[in-house]
């Protein structure tokens, strides 16, 4: 990767062609403006590395400026493990253009180079330059540059959106309805509480005040005073697979070969899951004096989409709304960030021009943020002489996409369904290929002969769903990789050998072989301890990842160790990539073994850390991460481990106990049920 001619103009430069959108100079530092946002994944550090090399500067001379709609590039969403893939070519192109324009090769002193950058015309159109320079040096890319944001976090400095303070700041809370379909019947006339202003619009209720404790007390009394009409609209949470398979749905067919009669069929399922970020959603908003325009601070994954959605919801021109990104706790997909931004906007309008810092409650975070949908699938395959020859996969799920502005014209912001004259949020839909939503990784990478892959995107939406880390891939890989183990057993083959026999892609084979070798695959284990493997190439386009899980299935199921082997292509920051892979695997261990959103026909009852437990320190597995050296295109790291983790755990439980658990969560209860079903 030392030299490379810029053959084409990267998409993100095409969309943001002005030099000054990307690069400015301030205080002797080259400021690189980016449209990707820090979600806890360390992207700002990786972008700093890419930018430093692209510009031919040491990283201390580069300052990354966080995304905002009124300056800097629009790089779309920060999602789908695409940030490095999309940013690397753009930053390299911009860097090459800057070096060419500033005649970097002539300068001896770095300060001269920075001064020359400062003098460049910000209006320069980058697409018309005919940039032919090299890709810049590779000095910082590939090294473990420490995270830029960690000192603030570890030392407890202001860093997060909830830490923002502005003159005249007020605090805001929203009182959400007690159940999904509830509407406000009554609030006492003249309801008031000390130190707060009530904001009411239809079934949207909020309070704003100068002091946070006043606001919290007021919210509690308002909650007791408000009377709601509630309705039973939810399916039975113990019969979700029946509901999914009978609900109205749209058909999506991927492969439609004629598939011969199968020798094995099995069905799998997963429940609804919550993002369960450690911080509830939060935002700050401030209107101008005349309430004509508003500025919003949000931890949204897509500030430009959010801006358009807020403007549309309030019938304003887009120029009346500006959004800048502010960090919050880990974001694992479409959570309540955008909704909170709109809540803050509504509350702040009532007290313009004062800024309002709005925060959700823990209960609202779990019950009102979009959930990862429940899913179920059935797989059939034919085994001929120990090889798979015919594969049919059919999956049912609500959609995985309901971000602001996704569903034809509806802003998709929660409060738009609660304000007077509001319309219900449209159901989530499923993006089509190649990445898909429900069908993500539904099509296995193996040579399976004729295949038929079918998805049913459920269009009823009793519960709000959207994208959570890896979307359908988590479940589809769990199901297909469990089933591959079932077929391997039918064939009397070792699960690793069986996979290799059906894989031709050398990069796929390499991660499977590496995970097996590093885990001591095939060596003896104690009784009730088992090893299992799971593999996938994320989206069938992204990173390759194989994971071996070692579980102990005693009175409690314990995932002791996960061995991760991944080919991510070029890695900008190996330590950061390891952190992401390991974190993804541990989070998926929690999803796989513990988590499940519970509800009755009316209310979601999983609404705190006791009713929605997640994995805790004593139960966290040891994770060993092995990266395959590669100088191929970067493939992303954040979402490739989830599916393989789930499958590896399920296969390890089977290896330990001889029982096959096909319904998540894979806890002791599920193991007992599976044992009962097989005896």
């Amino acid at each position: 990767m030392t030299t490379m001619r810029q053959q084409t103009i990267p998409a993100h430069v095409e969309a943001n062609p002005s030099l000054g959108t990307w690069v400015t100079v301030a205080e002797g530092l080259v400021e690189v403006h980016v449209g990707k946002v820090e979600l806890g994944q360390g992207i700002l550090t990786a972008l700093q590395q890419l930018a430093a090399d692209a510009l031919g500067l040491s990283p201390e001379l580069v300052r990354i400026r966080t995304a905002r709609t009124d300056s800097g590039p629009d790089q779309g969403l920060t999602a789908g493990s695409m940030s490095v893939q999309e940013s690397a070519p753009a930053l390299r192109y911009v860097g090459a253009a800057v070096r060419q324009l500033a005649e970097a090769t002539d300068v001896v002193e770095v300060t001269t180079y920075v001064d020359r950058i400062a003098e460049l015309d910000p209006e320069t159109n980058l697409t018309g330059l005919g940039v032919v320079g090299s890709a810049g040096p590779t000095l910082v890319v590939g090294t473990d540059l420490p995270r830029l944001d960690l000192p603030d976090k570890v030392l407890g400095r202001p860093r997060f959106v909830a830490d923002l303070r502005r003159p005249g700041l007020m605090y805001g809370r929203v009182l959400r309805p007690p159940s999904v379909a509830a509407t406000l019947r009554w609030v006492p006339d003249g309801w008031a509480a000390p130190g707060v202003t009530l904001v009411r619009d239809g079934s949207f209720l909020g309070v704003v005040g100068d002091r946070e404790d006043d606001v919290d007390r007021a919210l509690a009394t308002l909650s007791s005073a408000a009377v709601w009409d509630e309705h039973d609209t939810l399916p039975h949470d113990d019969a979700l697979t029946d509901w999914l398979r009978s609900a109205a749905s749209d058909l999506i067919e991927v492969g439609a070969d004629d598939v011969p009669e199968s020798t094995r069929t099995a069905s799998y399922s997963k429940p609804y899951l919550a993002h369960a970020s450690i911080a509830p959603s939060c935002a700050m908003a401030q209107w101008t004096e005349n309430a004509e325009s508003v500025h919003v601070w949000s931890h949204s994954q897509g500030i430009h989409r959010l801006r358009a959605a807020i403007a549309a919801a309030l019938d304003l021109g887009p120029e009346a709304v500006s959004v800048e990104h502010a960090e919050n706790a880990g974001c694992y997909g479409h959570n309540g960030a955008d909704d909170a931004a709109f809540d803050a906007t509504l509350l702040a309008r009532a007290v313009a021009p004062r800024p309002v810092l709005l925060r959700w409650s823990r209960a609202d975070e779990i019950t009102w943020g979009p959930l990862s949908p429940a899913m179920t699938s059935t797989i059939s395959a034919r085994l001929v002489d120990g090889r798979i020859d015919g594969w049919a996969y059919e999956v049912w799920s609500q959609g995985h996409a309901s971000r602001p502005g996704y569903a034809g014209g509806h802003p998709g912001l929660l409060a738009t369904a609660h304000v007077a004259g509001g319309t219900p949020l449209p159901p989530a839909f499923d993006p089509l290929g190649p990445a898909f939503g429900s069908l993500r990784n539904a099509d296995p990478l193996y040579d399976v002969g004729p295949r038929r892959i079918t998805g049913h995107c459920v269009t009823e939406a009793p519960i709000r769903t959207s994208a959570m880390r890896s979307l359908g891939a988590f479940f589809n890989v769990f199901a297909t990789e469990s089933f591959v183990d079932e077929l391997a057993a039918d064939a009397g083959a070792d699960p690793v050998d069986f996979r290799l026999a059906h894989l031709t892609d050398p990069r796929a084979r390499a991660v499977v072989e590496r995970a097996a070798a590093e885990s001591g695959w095939g060596t003896a284990l104690a009784e009730s301890v088992g090893r299992g493997i799971g593999f996938a190439r994320y989206k069938n386009l992204g990173a390759y990842c194989a994971i071996v899980a070692e579980v102990e299935a005693g009175t409690e199921l314990r995932v002791r160790r996960l061995v991760v082997a991944a080919d991510l292509g070029l890695v900008v920051n190996p330590d950061g990539a390891r952190n992401q892979l390991s974190g993804g695997a541990v989070q998926a261990t929690s999803w796989t073994t513990i988590e499940r959103i519970r509800f009755d026909h009316r209310r979601i009852s999983s609404n705190d850390w006791e009713s929605y437990p997640i994995l805790r320190f004593p139960a966290a597995p040891r994770v060993d991460v092995h990266l395959i050296d590669s100088d191929q295109l970067p493939l992303g790291a954040g979402e490739c481990a989830q599916g393989p983790t789930a499958a590896a755990i399920a296969n390890a439980v089977h290896a330990a106990l001889g029982v096959r658990v096909r319904d998540l969560p894979l806890n002791s209860e599920a193991i007992v049920r599976a044992i009962e079903e097989t005896t």
């Binding site: 806890g40 995270r147 603030d152 570890v154 407890g156 450690i278 706790a329 850390w609 320190f617």
Partner: protein, 151 residues
């Protein structure tokens, strides 16, 4: 008016007795290093030392902190990052970092009391601190590495 000592300074707080200590710290005193995660004492993001004991400040009412000594994550770094903080940074033991200030406080209290705590004891001590990004292993390793410095 309630008096308490926060990070070595005596402060008088004019808030009702039932105000959560976390709100006092964040809103009245501007110490935002203790984070709000749940408001129910269940996630550990707001952990502070109250007379040397690690407690969730979100469900500690102000009256309970009256005339007490409160140390927050900021206070632990008053003379520069403490050994746990240094070690967490050295090990890059965080992802989103929202849970980490509570973990710094809890781990510091643990090593005060058990300077030779082993991995299992560290994990047990952090049982009430939730991490959603899955950084548990690095955090435990970083706390273990901080032992040599604190003892």
């Amino acid at each position: 008016m309630t008096s308490l000592t926060v990070n070595g300074e005596q402060v008088d707080v004019d808030r009702p007795d039932d105000t959560p200590l976390l709100t006092v710290l964040r809103d009245a005193l501007g110490l935002v290093g203790s984070r709000f995660g749940c408001g129910q004492g269940l996630c550990g993001a707001c952990t502070v030392l109250l007379d040397g004991k690690a407690v969730p400040s979100c469900d500690t009412p102000l009256w309970q902190a009256a005339d007490s000594i409160v140390t927050t994550v900021e206070g632990l770094a008053a003379d520069g990052p403490n050994p746990v903080q240094q070690s967490l940074i050295r090990h890059q033991a965080a992802q989103c970092g929202f849970c980490i200030s509570g973990i710094v406080v809890r781990a510091t209290a643990l090593l005060e009391e058990h300077p030779n705590a082993d991995a299992e004891q560290v994990a047990e001590a952090l049982e009430r601190n939730l991490c959603r990004c899955g950084t548990h292993q690095r955090i435990v390793e970083a706390v273990l590495a901080a032992r040599a410095v604190t003892t």
